[in-house]
């Protein structure tokens, strides 16, 4: 780090701590609001959470409602729920016969997380590579093919890739399993299918930014000072071009982990996305709430990490105190 940044970091030490505390407080408030809104929205969904509502008489349903505390007025239910949640008790699932929500989520979060992370890693590496190469070899066949690949990744939905990969590679060629989640080779096809979108996003951003950065004054200066080709490309240009990519990485990570619903279904992966939608369709309130909280926490934390990362990547962006 240069003398300039060292100085501001030292003097910003105390304000950094203040900043962190403030951010964490914001996070808690945001989460509180998200959870509350979801609770009330969920109570508005019509329908009974009991799987056999059709077959039960009114009296029998009343007995069940009382047992689950569903007959109490909504504000009372809300109060109980918030207290329980903040002490770590997310309740029990209706459809899965009293399994605790925390247990259900922890069972499912693993596969989704692994899948999401693998897809992001593959996506960023390949995407950045394509973007950099395209920018460095602007308007050549290298650039055009890289751009073409990126466009395909963005325009064709992931489930189409999933279906094609499953059919041609797993069924026709028998190279990999068609589905399930029993080892590393099972993760390959779903990861590729899911990585197509991140590849295209990263490639596009990376290329655009790189092209812009390559035209700037300080690059010109570095060239004039005699810096080598690789040094310019990677030490100077790429680092600056990475910022927009980092911006997108945050929400992209979360949406991958959670929005891989279709991929999880096609490849029969026991993940969270798939469980979430099922819970909504059968009105399994505790699971709906628990999953929402999980997603909200994840998103808020990722945004926070991304902000911190900015500070590390680009000394120009200091978010502590008033050092803007």
């Amino acid at each position: 780090m240069s003398k300039y940044t060292e100085k501001s970091v030292l003097s910003g030490g105390a304000s950094m701590l203040k900043y962190l505390i403030r951010r964490v407080a914001y996070m808690v408030v945001t989460l509180f609001i998200i959870v509350s809104i979801t609770f009330f929205l969920m109570k508005l969904i019509p329908g009974s959470p009991f799987v056999n509502a059709q077959k039960l008489s009114e009296a029998q349903q009343a007995v069940l409602n009382a047992k689950y505390g569903l007959d109490q007025p909504i504000p009372v239910q809300y109060f109980h729920y918030m207290i329980n949640t903040f002490t770590g008790d997310l309740g029990v699932s209706f459809q899965f016969n009293n399994t605790s929500v925390t247990e259900l989520l922890s069972y499912r979060v693993g596969p989704s997380a692994v899948l999401g992370l693998q897809a992001i890693i593959l996506g960023t590496i390949v995407g950045i590579f394509l973007g950099v190469v395209g920018a460095l070899r602007q308007n050549t066949w290298v650039d055009y093919s890289a751009t073409f690949l990126a466009v395909i990744g963005k325009s064709i939905p992931s489930f189409v890739f999933a279906g094609l990969l499953q059919y041609y590679i797993a069924v026709k060629l028998g190279l990999l399993p068609t589905q399930f989640w029993n080892g590393f080779e099972y993760t390959i096809l779903p990861t590729i299918a899911l990585a197509m979108f991140p590849i295209s996003i990263c490639a596009r951003f990376m290329r655009t930014e790189m092209v812009e950065v390559l035209e700037t004054d300080y690059i010109l200066l570095a060239k004039a000072k005699g810096a080598g080709y690789f040094e310019i490309a990677f030490k100077h240009a790429m680092r600056n071009a990475l910022i927009p990519v980092v911006t997108v990485l945050g929400p992209l990570t979360v949406s991958l982990m959670t929005g891989s619903l279709v991929i999880e279904k096609i490849f029969s992966i026991p993940g969270i996305g798939e469980q979430f939608v099922k819970a909504i369709t059968v009105n399994d309130y505790p699971v709906i709430m628990g999953t929402t909280i999980l997603f909200a926490v994840l998103f808020v934390v990722v945004v926070f990490i991304v902000d911190i990362l900015y500070g590390i990547i680009d000394p120009r962006i200091r978010v502590a105190g008033g050092n803007k």
Binding site: S48, N52, L56, S93, Q166, L175, M238, I266
Partner: protein, 552 residues
Amino acid sequence: MKKSKFSLLLVFLLVLTIFVSACSGKQSSDKGTASKDSKQEATILESQEMPAMDTIQASDTISFTTMNNVFEGLYRFNDKEELVPGMADGEPVANKDKTVYNIKIKDAKWSNGDPVKAQDFVYAWQRALDPEQKSEYGPYMMVGKIKNADKVYNKKAKPEELGIKAVSDKELQITLEKPIPYFQSLLSFPTFYPVNEKFVKEQGDKYAKTAKNLVYNGPFELSSWDGPQATTWEYKKNEEYWDKKNVSMTKLTFKVSKDPQAAVNAFEAGEADITPKLSTPAIISQYEGDKRMKRLLEPTVFWLKMNQGNKSLKNENVRRAIATAIDKEAFVNDVLQNGSVAAYYQIPKDFVHDESGKDFRDGMPKYLETNKDEAKKLFEKGLKELGTSKVTLNYLGDDSETAKTIGAFIKDQLEKTLPGLDINIQSVPFATRIDRDKKEDYDLQMAGWGPDYLDPITFSDLFITGGGNNHMGYSDKKYDQLLKDASGKLAAKPEERWKALQEAEKVLLQDDAALSPIYQRATNYLINNKVKGFVIHKVGPEFSYKWMKIEG
């Protein structure tokens, strides 16, 4: 941060090598056992996880099927759809008015060596009616059938007063509220299975949470199941089962695959031997004529309910016009294309047979046959009687792809055949539709019903005045009386009872045009040619694997 283009390339190559090594390292251990000669193992795909293995907590078909294979009740349906003794030793002995039954228990064991006792049944049934247990199927199956079930459930009587007693370790006595002709088949349902009380008490909270928290008295044991969220589970042959010499399969592996195309892909890749029900016409038409596809006409009927709370639908001419305006043959042949048949009845065919083997539907006429010209005339008459030239109706249906296609078809048929009729489609999730049905917040509703036991009254009962599933504002004294007779004075006279139920169906459809049956559903499965003896039941738990074997 000194990354060079070279190191980026390195990373890329690393990723590539991982791929290549993984490809070459693919073991065939997951390739299903279809390729192994006569090894009695198979892999079966299910479309959902299994929410519960406690016999009183289950409400879904997959849990019921598993229970049917790892537990056993007093009676079970065999591979010829006959009711045969399970835990029972021989046939029940009834008293004169068929309200008290004595049943002897076989010499049978639980998988932990404990003998199966009559008290296991008493304990299980009392437990099903304990409101603390929050059982849904317990009250549903027992109230109104087993003596005092209602009172016990509402804590107005002690559990010991329930109509089931252990006369001795090996003899049960069951008392009913009234004679029930299909009583014996009811006993094959998991809610009535025995439960080992000692084991349950030892397990406490952990009872039925995973495979090792259960004991089994059926043809198989659950050798692995991690709980309701598990996406795979396994059976192994139960060596303590009384009839184990007739069980061939030694191991069955179940995996959950929710995407229809993915399930077919697994089947084609040799990773599975049986698929879940095929649902997409595209897939079904691909396998039309393929010996591996097994088709079954289910005893499930789908109909258009017509809410008489809407004044236009209270008019019988309007209802009859709607019922006869829809081309049901075109529907099953052009829209569904999966072997389902057009339904001109309420009680399905291939469902129940009398003692001589005659189907309930044999010799019965078709009701509400399609007749578009007549329909138009009836509708015009109805409009005149209502004093209006236009009628708008809300059509409530599910939001699955199939359901939406059905809705579009019906809307098209009705609007084209009956000018002046406007249909508004509302597609909602299943739970929402049930809720709105209960509130009678609909005009037309696409609904279906499958039987809970092997008797026509499971369908007829739906539409008595104020019945729990009526919700149509339908009330006909003649219908009610016929049903009352069937459950009352004709209960012990099967022939006359049957006639009463057939007459009731005529009243509902022919006389009153209360609803419009559309189709009876067929289901299709892909089954590996080496799998023999895969039994699919019409009522109650869906599948039995006791008679399955792998050949060739």
